[in-house]
Assembly symmetry: D3
Homo-oligomer: 175 residues x 6
């Protein structure tokens, strides 16, 4: 038995961690695989962190929370929704349960015959990636919006300055 949690994790926040904790509680003996989507994206306003940085955030948060049986993988995108689930199947070990709060991810997995669970997020609006990125860009405290280990990691890589720059004075930067 292995569950799969798919997301972009830009950044990995307390809502994501709560999801992982809930999954561990409901299926304590099983493995959980966290797949970092759009792994090739970074240094954009929508996807500021590299897959490697996101891996480190997740790893640090999971360790801090004392969760085990959690593995992490990074998945580069293929830009083809119709076969995206089949593409994941080829890259990942077998899984029998999918967790996501993204409705399109849910649609694509259900179309491929998977059972999908969309755990209810408490205080969803506090945990939206875009809001957290805006707080980072504004130099505001993330308070309890991200796990302490993620807050420390973000500070260590100068995330606030990076986000402020990527947001741009007149819209997101591009080369």
């Amino acid at each position: 038995m292995r569950g799969l949690l798919v997301g972009r994790f830009q950044p990995f926040h307390s809502g994501h961690l709560g999801l992982v904790e809930g999954i561990r509680r409901r299926a304590p003996g099983s493995d959980l695989l966290i797949a970092i989507g759009s792994a090739e994206q970074s240094y954009t306003w929508e996807n500021p962190f590299t897959a490697g940085e996101r891996y480190e955030m997740i790893e640090a948060a999971v360790r801090e929370a004392g969760l085990d049986h959690v593995a992490i993988v990074a998945i580069t995108d293929i830009q083809r929704h119709a076969i995206w689930v089949r593409y994941l199947e080829g890259l990942l070990p077998s899984f029998d349960r999918v967790y996501t709060n993204n409705p399109l991810t849910r649609l694509l997995f259900e179309r491929a015959g998977y059972a999908v669970e969309s755990p209810r997020l408490i205080q969803r609006s506090r945990f939206e990636g875009i809001r957290i990125r805006n707080r980072l860009a504004d130099g505001l405290s993330l308070e309890d919006r991200v796990p302490p280990a993620v807050a420390r990691y973000l500070e260590s890589i100068g995330a606030s300055a990076r986000l402020g720059l990527l947001r741009g004075p007149r819209g997101p930067l591009r080369t």
Copy 2:
């Protein structure tokens, strides 16, 4: 401290496992990340197994050997040697030591400034991927060439028949 072991693992054999065990002994407190290269390749004579299948082989062998602090990722190829190491850096958490017996992989990492260790393989010729694939295709026993857990996994997916077919009567098959 994290070490990185890169390979294609077609299949993951006892030589690979010996490498992992040696690394664990020499650096018992550190993490080891096993990166499955050419993840997009499968169902060819050179690369018969999907990245997901290779993930399961490695996972089963590592568990059977009682090794901990080992994580697995799959890496799709970018076909550009000059930036391959930089590409890995963007996809993976930070690592400070690289293990490989592939001389080109060694060259590319050293050119990028990494310390690379190439552990001596005992009985190297017994553990070449091509020889093991030929034994599989011939329906011969793999004996101790692969860990028992890998042998069971290969049997469960019908690897022998697949390899026999992919090798082809007059050279490797293609669509």
Copy 3:
């Protein structure tokens, strides 16, 4: 003599069918090739249907209308306007006449030396893809905006629910 009609057909509507009928009338003895563009796109608000689904819509509508000498192909995009026409030439049988109402498609074909016809669309605004997708997402009747065969096909694949989901509560969904 073969004519080429290029479009994305998201979905294939009565305006498209009127175009095909007009072409058949003006050149009754010649072949018409309908090329489905952006074939790799699906399950997005702009491109909700797979190329295969679009193929089936067009096929059903053309049969229902009793039109012959019509063939269908799907074309994956190469994202390079400067060579797009040359790319089509390599994938398609030879053609000597191009039909389109898309001004950029017209520009690219004319630049490559083709005669391009842009048949006048009657009641153009009723037959815009975006309007028809919005009606689908809203659960409104498509009335005579699509051929009956297309309406039946869209219902058979649950197009209304798919479109409603892809449009999203706060903008088009993404993974």
Copy 4:
């Protein structure tokens, strides 16, 4: 009911046409879709003809043989065997039966749950693509190895000179 016949058709020869005729006889009321694989390949020794040229060969042979309910599509490759069938499903209208003499194609479709028929080829060795390309490169007659319509088409595009050049004096040419 629709059958799918997949091949590279470099060139479309009498063995292929015999296959199509056999399929039409066994399933006279159903549609047959001929998918031209590796459509992006051309001007190499292995794949000398563009997808468009192959489309014209097939079309001419099918017309000459008086076969109906046959449609043709070109499929660019994605170089990922594990999801190739799913990729085809997204690009093509639905099909319920697959015809092929390529064992890898057969393996991939069967793995995806399709019924696959591999009609027996009479005089297989006479109808191998490589042999026919060698005869073309040598300037030898193709006799009854290709349908008359294909022979005329090959002559019209100067195929013999092209093949002679692509085979190269010391192995296939490359840029």
Copy 5:
């Protein structure tokens, strides 16, 4: 000693030329390499000119200004910010100084350890690509916004009509 100036140059305008002249003055003995980014883009509102057309604009302007030791290259994008600088390093001769006014380009080069200079642009707003494209689309004079040689080139290729079309009546055109 070689400096690198990176930009999209849609089109190459007097602000760009002023930059090049300033660089030549400050480092008269050294080489300057002008890299045309997003070379694969053309015939869109954001990127209307092909890389070849942009090459000709730059070449004509540099000749007209009597500047020497200037070379031009076109760089197709890889859509991966994390390795973009490393990708450039593989394609270009060695360089030790980077000039850019794009803050994201500056960030990516500084992260890779390069010294980056961002020369102050005089009258920046007059020399924004988007403003110059809008003037072209409106059929207005470019006055001194582009070097005379660029103005002549733009007229010779019918840039005004192209831009007017690409801007579209209701937003940028797409196929």
Copy 6:
């Protein structure tokens, strides 16, 4: 008037330089553009040098020979022969004459309507890339097979050791 010389230049040798000198003599007033093909390839036995390294070799040899009006560009491959010339046209400034000794390159340009010149190479066998790479790998002197400036450059980057490694003990290395 601008001529185009296309090659892979692995490495740029005296045969190539002789070609350039011959072109300069025959068309002294015109520009010559040297396009480095397969620019994305490097660190393989067939393509050991990066595009940037090849750029530097050509630049050094051209300067040493006192040739002017020569520009250099790097071209990443698109793996589609049918549109390769059109792809080059989009990336390069206009050219009206093509020089090459590669018969496939010649075929593709002639098919696109270009005048192609294939200057006779004196002592062709001495100037084959494969022979020069083998001499490098064997640590033999290149004598007059490459221009002195190229010999110095190859030594400065440790080309002999790289080639020896890439050739491999049992065939070319791969990751």
